[in-house]
């Protein structure tokens, strides 16, 4: 393989990733290859000594995704699809299956808990309005109206808080899963790399 093909392969494999980052990677490897050629290696030998392109780019991608999973603002679902995309390489398919199952199973259970608490709190607030309306039309004393609304407000807000908390913890857990699988990919790709080198 010559340099131009090698860089084209890197570019192709890192398509969709930050362009500045991709250029930085290519620049780095270009310098490496040139330095190796100065030491007497041929272009093809210098490139071959770096290892298999797919493993190199998978390592790079996994590294980027590990960093991204540590960013609290990141979108864990978007990251999940990207990481799953990296697992399209044959040797990474088992990791991909593991990621697919664990991410979706955990995302689903988090959603169910989030949703049930959320819906409960909405229903409690609706109940509050209905019972207030009924009590007013029945001419109930103000003190019992206040007691009922106070109690319902407390329970409703607690439910809403739990729902928000589940959402927050949930997105953190999903990020941890993303980071964890990115690390698995990185280690696996590195191991493969060494086999070729």
């Amino acid at each position: 393989m010559n340099k131009r093909n090698f860089y084209r392969e890197i570019e192709k494999s890192l398509k969709g990733f930050n362009e500045y980052e991709v250029n930085r990677i290519i620049e780095y490897f270009d310098e490496m290859i040139n330095d190796k050629m100065d030491k007497g290696l041929s272009e093809a030998e210098a490139i071959a000594s770096l290892g298999d392109v797919t493993n190199i780019t998978n390592t790079m991608k996994a590294e980027i995704m590990m960093e991204r999973s540590e960013n609290p603002k990141g979108n864990s679902f978007k990251d999940f699809w990207i990481i799953l995309g990296i697992c399209a390489s044959p040797i990474l398919i088992p990791i991909g299956i593991g990621l697919f199952i664990s991410f979706l199973a955990i995302a689903f259970s988090i959603f169910v808990v989030f949703f049930s608490f959320g819906v409960s709190s909405v229903f409690i607030f609706i109940t509050l309005f209905i019972s207030l309306f009924e009590m007013i039309s029945a001419g109930d004393p103000v003190s019992s109206m206040m007691l009922v609304s106070g109690a319902l407000l407390v329970v409703g807000s607690l439910m809403a808080m739990v729902s928000i908390l589940v959402y927050r913890i949930g997105s953190k857990v999903l990020k941890i899963i993303n980071g964890w699988f990115s690390k698995l990919i990185k280690n696996k790709s590195k191991k493969e790399e060494r086999r070729y080198a």
Binding site: N34, D35, K36, M60, K190
Partner: protein
């Protein structure tokens, strides 16, 4: 070295390799070859991380008609190496203690 390296140890090795003089990618791999086996794609993220964390700065300089990227350690980088040494001083004390207790025990 076959043992699993403590996380971040490679970062310190790279910083230490730059203590005496600035260096470039290929040279860093060669300089550390005797103590640790580091592939090109292992070194890249390390350099990137160290530079992003301001432990290193880089500049380009002409060599052989092309530009080569050189890395220079910052004072924050030197501090990083220093705190590593302090941490290991403690580890050494633990090592000495364990070794001392082991004296006379059958191996």
């Amino acid at each position: 070295m076959k043992v699993q390296l403590k996380k971040g140890l490679l970062d310190i090795i790279v910083l230490a390799a730059l203590l005496k003089e600035d260096g470039y990618g290929y040279q860093l791999i060669q300089d550390t070859k005797d103590i640790v086996e580091m592939s090109e794609s292992t070194l890249y993220p390390i350099l990137r991380r160290l530079e992003d964390n301001k432990f290193l700065t880089s500049y380009k300089s002409e060599y052989n008609g092309r530009l080569r990227k050189y890395y220079r350690i910052t004072s924050a980088g030197v501090n990083q190496v220093n705190s590593f040494l302090l941490e290991w001083k403690n580890m050494n004390r633990i090592y000495d203690y364990i070794k001392e207790r082991m004296k006379g025990e059958q191996a």
